[in-house]
């Protein structure tokens, strides 16, 4: 229905006023004329306000990429020559999972002279969302004619994981890049004091320590440690999603915790100047190479937002990062599959500093303790604990994710451990 149709209001007013007047005058019924008289104005004004052309209705979103919890306004505009003939606009947004609207009902209407009504959408969970599917009805002056309700298509919206506050004071164990913010074991042109040694050809004059040189009678220079960036790999387990997601304000599923933690870690390390790479373990896995900078962070978060679980996805036997040893690897996973545990152990043995971040969290089953589902869950938990204990025995720390400071202790320990000479298995 795209053309203008008479409204029930106009039909009612016209029926009563014209029917009443005709009947009253033809049959001489005075009461009928009196009762029909007020409706005459509604009928005549409604009829005269008939719009002349079919309008075009367009809705636009202010943004097409958001973080979960942020909001976007959907604005409506009319095309064609009918804008002056429209008195009222009604918009009703279709309810969409994980999308909150303001007003809550999704229905809003206002007089055109007060401006077109706006609807605010706020995605409550990361991922690819379709919002703005709605029905729009236009009404002419005196509610005489209505165009619509017309169905308008949805807009695609990329929802990035929430920017969870995360910070860590720990240094990464094995910085291996050229420049960056981490203190390295190599001597270089940083600011961290390393020692004082006799002057040698090629040393910079500004590095001469005059106090020591005067006391010893020989030129001495201050040496410092170079500052390096680190290669950080995030391996994200997108094979299963345990629990129900209540969005950014509610309960978090295991995949919610995984994706939000990965996003927070990526943001933290990019801010530190490190190079961050991403490997998604899922049915349609993805891999983002090591990189740094704001654009790279967007790319990482966009890849995280596209993760989808597939019930038939199988875990890989081996994780190929495509880099040599020396990187820090964060494995974010509820660790429900033995092959994934084996692949993690292989990475650890290959010389990477692997930290397993347990994203399962505490979950309480709603079933009784002797229910079949509850028993199965407990058996699975025992197996999982056994796997995690095996990993820990290999020297691979396992920490549950709990936001800022989650990794401080672990990274300090790994940094100390990294300074010990070791033989790598190949």
């Amino acid at each position: 229905m795209t053309s203008w149709q008479p409204t029930p209001t106009l039909v009612r007013a016209a029926l009563i006023s014209f029917g009443g007047l005709v009947g009253g005058l033809v049959f001489g019924l005075e009461v009928l004329v009196v009762l029909a008289a007020p409706f005459l104005l509604f009928a005549v004004m409604g009829l005269l306000g008939r719009p002349t052309a079919d309008p075009g209705i367009v809705t636009l979103l202010d943004h097409h990429r958001l973080h979960e919890g942020q909001g976007v306004t959907s604005r409506l505009s009319l095309t064609g020559s009918t804008q002056g003939e429209v008195e009222h606009v009604t918009r009703v947004a279709a309810p969409t999972p994980h999308i909150a609207t303001r007003p809550t009902s999704g229905a809003v209407g206002s007089l055109v002279r007060k401006g077109f009504p706006e609807i605010e959408f706020s995605p409550r969970r990361w991922g690819r969302r379709s919002i703005g599917s709605e029905r729009v009805a236009l009404t002419s002056a005196w509610a005489g004619w209505r165009c619509g309700p017309r169905d308008l298509p949805a807009h695609g919206l990329g929802v990035l994981p929430q920017a969870t506050p995360y910070d860590s004071r720990a240094e990464v164990p094995q910085p291996d890049g050229l420049v960056g913010g981490h203190r390295s074991r190599r001597v270089g042109s940083g600011t961290e004091f390393e020692g004082i040694r006799p002057f040698a050809a090629g040393d910079r004059l500004r590095r001469i320590n005059w106090r020591v040189s005067l006391r010893s009678g020989e030129l001495h220079v201050v040496t410092t440690r170079s500052e390096q960036d680190a290669g950080v790999w995030l391996i994200v387990d997108g094979l299963r999603d345990i629990g129900e997601s209540g969005g950014v304000d509610g309960e978090a599923s295991s995949l919610d915790v995984t994706v939000r933690a990965a996003s927070a870690l990526a943001e933290h390390h990019i801010r530190q100047g490190d190079r961050v790479g991403l490997l998604v373990v899922a049915s349609d896995g993805a891999r983002v190479r090591l990189g740094s900078g704001a654009r790279h962070l967007h790319s990482l978060q966009g890849t995280l937002a596209r993760i989808r679980t597939e019930p038939r996805a199988v875990p890989p036997e081996r994780l190929d990062l495509g880099t040599s040893a020396g990187s820090v690897v964060y494995m974010l996973s509820p660790m429900l599959f033995t092959p994934l545990v084996t692949a993690t152990a292989t990475l650890q043995r290959a010389g990477q500093s692997v930290v397993v971040i347990d994203t399962l969290g505490e979950r309480q089953g709603s079933d009784g303790p002797l229910e079949l589902a509850s028993l199965a869950a407990r058996m699975q938990k025992i197996e999982r604990d056994d796997r995690l204990a095996s990993l820990a025995a290999l020297g691979c720390p396992v920490v549950p994710w709990h936001g800022p400071g989650t990794l401080d202790t672990v990274l300090h320990r790994l940094a100390r451990h990294a300074q010990v000479p070791k033989v790598r298995a190949r």
Binding site: T9, A14, F18, V34, T90
Partner: protein
Amino acid sequence: MRLPSGWTWRVVLMRALLFLLPVACLLLALPQVPNWAVVVLVVMCALQWARSPDHLAGALALTLVIGWWTVRDVVDWQIVVVAVLLTLAHVIATVSAYGPVGMRPDRDVALLWLRRGALSLIPLGVTFAVIRGFDAASAPPGLWLLAAVVAIGLGLTTARLTGTESE
């Protein structure tokens, strides 16, 4: 007391008025009691109208009330009250029909329609005054015919304007 999802007290009040106003028009005739069939029909139509302000039942409820008062055929102050109540019901139905039940009634829209409702009472006052002061016996012979032709002309114009355009 919890309201159904999407309902607000303002919506409840408007829907209650949609039901009560046509019924009140019949109660106004007490102690004279209309025919039970009329009462039942008006109540049922008013209920349906309150549920769905866009429904044709609204027009039927108003027509039944107007019809019954026409049959009673007494031009007194009660007619004016009935006309005001019916106009108010029409205005409330119009404002309610702008959107679904979950849509908060807009204050500007409500004020606009209240003004329009007040404006529509002018023809009512004029008609009532003319009819009360009009002596049918001394009217010019062609007056009724002329009025009927004008009314029929209005009806034909309406039919033409409301006809669906063939695209």
